[in-house]
């Protein structure tokens, strides 16, 4: 039997039972639409997550924190719980150990300012995120500047690109326009550091600082940071905490390990973890996100697959009914010279046809539903953006090119598989019995 004749015969047989074919195909439509919507939702979520993760940080950087043993609970005041053997502090000798790991380019300790501080510029103020780094060049962290230099000196600071947006006018009268973010490059700012004694008396220390560099946008932590030499942060901490810090004994609160090649980051991080420290790479985060979305797609796809399974039972039932009704027709086909394979092909073709039609409908419905979701999502996002600023994902559901193709092939296969058993029964009918069937 010629393939084109088979197609025509199958199409003819399907059109002579339009209502039943349509009702059976509805199940496939629902199943396919579910798969399309759910997979496109998962793809959309994944895409917007990757969009937001853009600039998650330099992939050659590993953040290392000390381990205080147990659950890693830090009890404050430099004290630690649990046995000393579990405690791994970021002492200078530990940093030397990191430097000895192959693939490590540099190890830079960093320290936060431990007291509250305020930065003033003209009439404006802000609460700074001061980070002291143990290098005199911010470029060692992988950052570059828009303007000025990445180098740090005593009395100079390098700021992230969004820092100026944190300035506000404390004396702004209600209803008046807030002032625009100041241009701080090459400007002198005043930093006020506060210290309180046990009776709550406040002491202030004023420091004049010059902004010698503004970093390029990274969409990471650097954007909001104010970098200062570690030594200076240490002196301020010693003043505000009334104690001396010995980094050989107490260790730093964090270290940045920079590797030469981003591909080595995970490996180096694993070695540092094996040494008892807590190491964190952007890769591990990305990997987690990826796994999450793969799981999401599998779950969503699974829901659709269950819907398709139900549809498959419907197709099998319809085909079985149809074959019963056409038993004499099958007998006739065999009498006029149809082989078992011809009969099998005709009925498999009809089942596949129902799956194919349902798949087409399902893709159309799924596509429409995805568009509807995107419209709803964009309305919702627009509302949210009004409150939170930009950076929200633009789409919720994305239909990758492979999805409709996959859905069509899959639904056709589902149809074929569900029709397999009834079609085999039709093909192997004894001609004389089929012809005598009432």
């Amino acid at each position: 039997m010629k393939f084109f004749d088979l197609l025509r015969l199958v199409a003819g047989n399907l059109t002579r039972r339009k209502a039943r074919v349509a009702l059976t195909a509805v199940g496939v439509v629902i199943g396919t639409a579910a798969v399309v919507v759910l997979v496109s939702l998962a793809s959309g979520l994944r895409q917007s997550a990757s969009e937001q993760l853009y600039g998650i940080g330099d992939l050659t950087l590993i953040q290392v924190s000390p381990s205080y043993g147990g659950e890693g609970m830090y009890m404050g005041g430099g004290g630690a719980i649990s046995s000393p053997s579990d405690v791994k502090l970021l002492t200078n000798s530990a940093l030397e150990d990191f430097r000895a790991i192959p693939g490590v380019e540099s190890v830079i300790p960093r320290e936060y300012l431990m007291s509250s501080a305020l930065i003033k510029f003209q009439k404006l103020e802000m609460y700074p995120n001061i980070i002291g780094i143990g290098t005199n060049d911010v470029a060692d962290l992988g950052d570059t500047t828009d303007r000025g230099s990445t180098e740090l000196g005593r009395g100079s600071i390098v700021i992230g690109v969004t820092v100026p947006q944190s300035f506000y006018d404390p004396n702004l009268r209600p209803g008046k326009e807030p002032p625009p973010p100041p241009d701080l490059f090459n400007q002198q700012v005043q930093m006020v550091v506060f210290k309180y004694d046990s009776e709550g008396h406040e002491t202030r220390k004023n420091i004049a600082l010059r902004v010698t560099g503004v970093l390029k946008e990274t969409r990471g932590e650097s954007d909001w940071a104010i970098y200062m030499p570690l030594e200076q942060v240490k002196l301020l901490n010693e003043w505000s905490q009334n104690r001396r810090f010995n980094y050989n004994k107490d260790g730093y609160s964090m270290a940045i390990v920079k590797v030469t090649d981003a591909n080595q980051a995970m490996e180096v991080a694993d070695q540092i973890t094996a040494m008892g420290f807590q190491a964190y790479t952007p890769q591990s985060f990305l990997e987690g996100i990826n796994n999450f979305f793969i799981i999401l797609q599998v779950i969503f796809g699974g829901v659709g697959a269950i819907a398709l399974l139900v549809a498959a039972i419907g197709i099998a039932n319809t085909m079985a009914m149809s074959i019963l009704e056409r038993t004499r027709e099958i007998g006739l086909m065999k009498a006029v010279g149809a082989t078992n394979r011809d009969v099998l092909a005709i009925f498999l073709g009809e089942a596949a046809g129902i799956g194919f039609l349902g798949g087409l409908g399902g893709i159309a419905v799924g596509w429409l539903a995805s568009q509807a979701i995107n419209i709803l999502a964009s309305i919702y996002m627009a509302n949210q953006a009004g409150q939170q600023g930009s950076g929200l994902p633009s789409v919720a559901a994305v239909i990758p090119l492979w999805l409709p193709v996959f859905a069509l092939v899959f639904s056709t296969l589902v149809g074929m598989l569900s029709g397999l058993y009834p079609a085999l029964r039709a093909a192997t009918m004894v001609p004389v019995l089929a012809l005598k069937y009432e």
Binding site: D5, G331, M333, A335, N340
Partner: protein, 223 residues
């Protein structure tokens, strides 16, 4: 089914020569259809030999039987067995699809055969739009489509009134005159006028005309 063994045909030995018109007569249940289906390779006997032109049907597998039917045999059934969704032309051309004939040739051949059975102006009519006699003539045209040597007809006039039945008989007789071998199962005595050979069946056995006549008479007296 149950333990009862039914011998639809028992110890039947018949020979049908090429170019003959054979009528198989017998009361209902005597095994006429069984004989026809066995000869047509649509049924299998539990034992015995069936050969057509030296080929052993009882030794062929399903696929070989299908191909053999396609080449050699045309069937006509009591209930026509036309496909309701196809018009007369498509019904006649249907078997040629399995032979792989292309659509154009199918159409030409089907038109030719419809003309041969006197239905050239009914080509686009569906079975539901045709009388019983016309449907049976479409079915005969379909049986002829692959130019078979042997035409097997199972009570072809059984569902027809007298005049349509006569028309169908004439068509079958014409086929015989044109050189084909025709075997018709019937209990319509008029059919015997056309026959060159007769086979009488009683309870699955082949009997002579005399025995058959006396059995028929006996049956009449009981009624």
């Amino acid at each position: 089914m149950g333990g009862q063994v039914v011998r639809a045909l028992d110890n039947v030995d018949v020979e049908i020569e090429e170019g003959t018109f054979t009528v198989v007569m017998g009361p209902s249940g005597s095994g006429k259809s069984t004989l026809l289906y066995l000869l047509g390779g649509l049924d299998r006997a539990t034992s015995g030999e069936i050969s057509i032109e030296g080929e052993r049907l009882d030794q062929m597998d399903e696929n070989a039987l299908a191909l053999f039917r396609r080449r050699t045999m045309g069937f006509v059934f009591q209930s026509f067995n036309l496909i309701p969704s196809m018009d007369a032309l498509e019904n006649v051309g249907f078997p040629m699809q399995f032979a792989g004939t292309n659509a154009k040739q199918r159409k030409i051949r089907a038109q030719e055969l419809l003309a041969q059975v006197g239905l050239e102006n009914r080509a686009d009519h569906r079975p539901s739009e045709l009388s019983g006699g016309q449907q049976q003539r479409v079915a005969i045209a379909r049986a002829l489509v692959n130019a078979p040597k042997l035409i097997l007809a199972d009570e072809p006039t059984g569902n027809l009134d007298t005049s349509s039945g006569s028309a169908v008989m004439r068509v079958l007789s014409d086929l015989h005159k044109a050189g084909r071998t025709v075997l018709v199962v019937t209990h319509d005595p008029r059919m015997t006028h056309f026959a060159t050979h007769r086979i009488y069946l009683l309870d699955g056995r082949v009997v002579g005309e005399a025995e058959y006549e006396s059995a028929a008479l006996e049956a009449l007296q009981i009624e």
